[in-house]
């Protein structure tokens, strides 16, 4: 197998491969080198571990308990189905009546007829057992889906309630963000300080350019720009963005919305299309 790249070139590419940032062609060339280079293979394994550690170092965000349990039940039911589909269920036959170490008689006897009947009954019992298990699995999945559906409705209700709370709670501070151009998009941030919940409502926003998204920022007095998330407006130009972020009451200087490349940016890279002054108490 040819190695068109060479060790030094591949070594430079390993970190990007660990981050899954190579094209398929680059990856194929790299793979050819890896088949003959233990050093690069070992290096790549530890770089992959480092890349994966980025994901495992995030602050934990568990699923709601009921939904997590429902998903577990669903996965196990699917796995049982999958296993049954791939590997035929094998069971030992029921012991044959009258079985012994003696040689079988040459002609059918009552014992052999009984054994045959027992065998047929055993096959029937196995078939019934498989059918019963399939029914139980289906019911288990249906129950999980029902819980899922109920949880989804409860979550939606809770979301709506959270929006309402974020707008109407006694500790909410409101700040407006006006446009810096003539298009006059308009935004209003509701900061529920006791719960650190932020609800941003915007109108008249034009659609973000292809490959771009809007990003909401909290600008602190020491000029830190904290991302509160990316969002896209509806066809009518409206958007609601919700976030939870703890900020000291007097540390907010402004809010801003910028147009960023899809996926968002670590820091603002464009002039804000919406920028709001420091919060004022309602």
């Amino acid at each position: 197998m040819s190695d068109p790249l060479g060790h030094d070139v591949v070594r430079e590419m390993l970190a990007l491969d660990a981050l899954d940032a190579l094209t398929p062609e680059e990856r194929a060339a790299l793979d050819r080198h890896l088949t003959t280079c233990a050093e690069c293979t070992g290096d790549l394994a530890t770089l992959r571990e480092a890349a994966a550690a980025i994901g495992t170092s995030l602050p934990p965000r568990p699923m709601p308990t009921e939904r997590e349990a429902a998903m577990r039940a669903r996965l196990l039911a699917r796995a049982i189905d999958d296993r049954a589909g791939v590997t035929p269920i094998r069971r030992k036959s029921a012991p044959q009546a009258g079985a012994s170490t003696r040689p079988a008689p040459a002609r059918p006897t009552v014992a052999r007829w009984l054994a045959a009947a027992a065998f047929i009954i055993a096959i029937g019992a196995i078939a019934y057992d498989i059918s019963l298990r399939a029914t139980i699995q289906r019911l288990s999945v249906a129950r999980a889906e029902l819980r899922d559906s109920t949880s989804a409705l409860q979550r939606r209700l809770a979301d709506q309630q959270a929006i309402l709370d974020g707008l109407t709670a006694p500790g909410v501070r409101v700040m407006d963000a006006g446009a810096t151009n003539a298009r006059q998009p308009y935004g209003r941030m509701f900061w529920d300080q006791p719960t650190n919940r932020w609800t941003f409502v915007a109108h008249n926003l034009p659609a973000a350019a292809p490959g771009h998204t809007y990003q909401l920022w909290l600008v602190t007095r020491d000029q830190r720009k904290v991302s509160a998330g990316t969002f896209a407006p509806t066809a009518s130009g409206s958007a609601i963005v919700r976030a939870t972020y703890a900020l000291a009451p007097d540390s907010l200087a402004a809010i801003a919305v910028t147009n960023e490349p899809a996926g968002g940016s670590a820091q603002p890279t464009t002039t804000p299309i919406l920028v709001g002054p420091s919060a004022k108490s309602d």
Binding site: A15, L16, A18, L19, D20, L22, T23, T41, A45, T46, L47, R48, E49, A50, A51, A52, A53, I54, G55, T56, S57, L58, P59, P60, R61, P62, M63, R67, E68, M71, R72, R74, L75, L76, R78, A79, I80, D82, R83, A152, R155, D159, G211, V226, G229, T230, F231, A232, T234, A239, I240, V241, R242, A243, Y245, P261, A262, G263, A266, Q267
Partner: protein
């Protein structure tokens, strides 16, 4: 029968042999970590949960192909989860139909957030995993902004090296160097934890 002290690799071996109970134990250990990553990448509860289910289902189907020499089970699961979440992220961008409500993570959105995740088989492993996560978060925080930007665009944005070069107006060589330097700095605390575990 799986037990609390069984290693992740042993669970995956059981899964490969068709033991769905092992899938359940692996799920109990890692569901929150996988969900955290998926949610961070997608910002939407429903989509994140779908990605979690896809991740564990893929792990079940491909358990026989898991190769311990290429990384720990946690690395393998994170790679699958990130891949499934990025697929959804890209599909969403293609459809350009972001929902009205864009629920975002509670972090500062830069990836360098302090926190911990401790999925593990027992309290001691849990504490070690938690400490490891804290150390990685600290190492991320300490990265120079230009190195951090490159790995964030790759890891969280799913961008290729060429796309990163275009986005940052950097030569490809610089992108490669920054990515390597950043990951080497993240690798150091991991090596220390491995040494400490021996």
């Amino acid at each position: 029968m799986p037990n609390d002290s069984e290693t992740d690799a042993a669970l995956v071996a059981r899964m490969a042999a068709g033991d769905e109970q092992a899938l359940g134990v692996l799920y109990d250990r890692w569901a929150t970590t996988v969900h955290t990553l998926a949610y961070y990448l997608l910002g939407q509860a429903d989509e994140a949960e779908d990605a979690v289910e896809e991740t564990f289902w893929q792990a079940w189907r491909e358990a026989g192909r898991y190769d311990a020499s290429r990384g720990a089970v946690s690395t393998w699961l994170s790679t699958i989860a990130r891949s499934r979440a990025l697929d959804r992220q890209r599909a969403r961008r293609r459809r350009a139909e972001e929902p009205l409500e864009s629920v975002v993570p509670s972090s500062d959105g830069t990836g360098g957030v302090a926190g911990s995740r401790a999925p593990a088989a027992n309290p001691q492993q849990e504490a070690e995993a938690s400490e490891r996560a804290r150390d990685i978060a600290a190492a991320l925080e300490k990265l120079p902004a230009e190195q951090r930007e490159v790995i964030e665009l790759a890891y969280f944005g799913g961008l290729s090296q060429s796309e990163i070069a275009t986005r940052t107006s950097l030569p490809l060589g610089t992108v490669k160097t920054r990515a390597r330097l950043a990951l080497e700095k993240l690798r150091a605390p991991l090596a220390q934890h491995r040494e400490g575990a021996r």
